[in-house]
């Protein structure tokens, strides 16, 4: 293996420090026995974790966020994968226009998307805020699913599908038995990325929230604006733990290189 230069090692180290140290502060403060969000923590206890998981607005928002992230991820994949196939393998005219359409939410400010949805769907069409949120989240996830599965499809040999057809598979059968399995790592990475993006989204969720349906990041944001207790640090630590477990599971099942390389070789 090539030895990295000392400068690169130092920069990488500094990078990790800048990213991880503030997170460690949050984690440490979550274990405090005191009543204030301070560092160093006063004493050691799990009481703020207890408080976090029994604080009804948080638990309700957590369920809402998971619901929203899960459904919008499924929708984004359900629309994004066929769209990617059509853009890259199909013979539709004006491919680049369609591609641009699917990728455009990536460059539009999310607040603008949120506001537009608010005016059109909630005010004019009187749609409830969960459905409007689903539309908004699906729209911002689509570019990720199209990009990531597209990268994976670009690396796959187009002759694979021809080979399946030649051996007797209908177009549909070849899609299920060859195209989809070959794209699987790309689809899984698109799903993870989408789920996390939706779960963490603030701008759209902030604009489209209502009393009965609120996402966790928005609820936590509201909470910190009014209170300054370690319960937020505890909730953040739980989310962090959840993310680590998810990432670890993904790594065990597929390996990061394959997820983010996105190709089944």
């Amino acid at each position: 293996m090539k030895r990295s230069s000392p400068i690169a090692v130092t920069l990488a180290f500094l990078g990790y420090v800048v990213m991880i140290v503030p997170i460690l502060f949050v984690v440490a403060t979550a274990f405090t026995d005191g009543d204030a969000l301070t560092f160093p923590p006063e004493g050691l206890s799990l009481r703020w974790f207890e408080a976090a998981i029994s604080y009804e607005p948080f638990t309700r928002a957590l369920v809402s966020s998971l619901q929203l992230a899960l459904i919008s991820t499924v929708l984004a994949l359900g629309i994004g994968i066929p769209a990617t196939l059509a853009i890259m393998r199909g013979r539709l005219p004006g491919k680049s226009v369609v591609e641009g359409l699917f990728l455009s939410p990536l460059i539009l400010p999310e607040l603008v998307v949120g506001l537009a949805l608010f005016q059109q769907f909630m005010i004019h069409l009187e749609m409830d805020n969960f459905r409007t949120l689903l539309i908004g989240h699906t729209a911002i996830l689509l570019p990720y699913t199209v990009r990531v599965t597209g990268a994976s499809l670009a690396l796959a040999d187009p002759a694979l599908e021809d080979a399946a057809r030649g051996l007797g598979a209908s177009a549909w059968r070849s899609f299920w038995t060859v195209t989809l399995p070959v794209l699987r790592p790309g689809i899984i990475s698109a799903a993870l990325l989408s789920f996390v993006t939706s779960f963490n989204n603030v701008p759209i969720s902030l604009l489209l929230q209502s009393r009965d349906f609120r996402t966790l990041p928005v609820t936590m944001l509201d909470y910190v604006q009014q209170n300054y207790t370690p319960i937020v640090a505890a909730m953040s630590t739980l989310l962090l733990a959840g993310t680590v477990v998810l990432a670890f599971a993904a790594e065990r099942i597929l390996g990061f290189a394959r997820i983010f390389g996105g190709i089944n070789r």
């Binding site: 040999d157 021809d162 057809r165 030649g166 051996l167 598979a169 059968r173 089944n264």
Partner: protein, 343 residues
């Protein structure tokens, strides 16, 4: 001789570009037919139309006495080996080979037997459980071959099957493919740009250029009698010149005779009726042979480059000075060795 497949006036356009231009071609049952031609001449396009991946812009394709022009690939019952092999990366070697049988709903036990048989035929019985990526290029190709023949295809189509292999393996696989063809009794259409491969492997070869057939026939008939300059050049002929009363002719380098003063005196053959004056431009030694490059003046007065291949021991040492660059000699050939070309 039964007809296995037929192209009837088939053309294929891509926009303004015509990749295949009025192709008429008969593939005979049990034979190995090669489509030979330079890159871009329409070989792959023709093969893909035969397989059903590409629709002809005009004309019809017949397979086994049936018009299949509008039949999708999965209903044509052909086996194809792609240039990239196109093995399914998420399946084992055995599952790759068994894919077509599974689609045909062949029962599990029979499927396993036929997969094992096909892998034996290509000499890979011991690798059935591997993933394709764990195989060498040569082995991957054999898997692709096994996958294509296990379904007992009406035709086996091979697109440049040997071009990704190293030189030694390539020569070895030529015989291997012939052996498999004979053992499985297959009709094969093979695409290649390698004339040596085509000459060695084909029962019939079809030389293509610019989307058209230039000439077709068995190698032993086609090679000694190329129809035109393109075919001759593609088969490796090098000497082209106009001779009075004979039109454009070509002669193989080893059949060209050089005459200096002493060569003639030494009585090498009779004076050819078709001699032209020439000047030596360069000489290269190749083992016992001497390759002499010359500029000759042909019947039209044009200067044409010629290559003569001469055995060193056939040269009188007194003639050697004439065989230096700038030396003046006479070039000729036995009229029986001249091949007339149409253009």
């Amino acid at each position: 001789m039964t007809t296995a497949a037929e192209f009837v006036a088939v053309s294929r356009h891509f926009g303004d570009f015509t990749a295949v231009d009025g192709l008429d071609l008969t593939i005979r049952e049990g034979e190995l037919t090669t489509l030979l031609g330079p890159s871009g001449c329409g070989k792959t396009t023709s093969l893909r139309m035969l397989a059903g991946y590409l629709a002809p812009s005009e004309g019809q394709i017949w397979i086994g006495g049936e018009d299949v022009t509008r039949t999708p690939p999965e209903k044509r019952g052909l086996g194809m080996v792609f240039q990239s092999y196109a093995l399914f990366p998420h399946m084992s070697v055995a599952d790759n080979v068994g894919y077509g049988l599974k689609l045909r709903k062949v029962p599990r036990a029979e499927r396993a037997r036929r997969v094992a048989e096909a892998l034996e035929l290509v000499g890979l019985g011991h690798l059935a459980d591997r993933r394709p990526k764990a195989l060498s290029g040569g082995q991957q190709q054999r898997v692709a071959l096994a996958r294509a023949i296990v379904i007992r295809p009406r035709l086996l189509l091979l697109d440049e099957p040997l071009s990704n292999l190293d030189a030694r393996l390539r020569v070895q696989m030529r015989e291997e493919i012939r052996r498999i063809q004979a053992e499985a009794g297959l009709t094969v259409v093979l695409v290649t740009h390698d004339q040596e491969e085509a000459l060695e492997m084909s029962d019939r070869m079809v030389v293509m250029n610019g989307g058209r057939v230039m000439q077709e026939g068995p190698p032993d008939e086609l090679f000694p009698a190329p129809a035109n300059r393109f075919v001759a050049e593609f088969l490796g002929y090098e000497n082209f010149l106009e001779l009075p009363g004979r039109g454009l002719v070509t002669v193989r380098p080893e059949l060209l005779e050089l005459r200096g003063e002493h060569l003639e005196a030494a009585g090498h053959g009779t004076a050819p009726a078709t001699a032209v004056p020439a000047t030596v431009t360069s000489i290269a030694y190749r083992g016992v042979e001497l390759r002499v490059a010359l500029d000759a003046v042909d019947a039209t007065g044009a200067t044409v480059p010629l290559i003569a291949s001469v055995r060193r021991d056939a040269i009188d040492s007194r003639d050697l000075p004439a065989l230096l660059p700038g030396g003046r000699v006479t070039v000729g050939a036995d009229p029986g060795h001249l091949v007339r070309l149409s253009a």
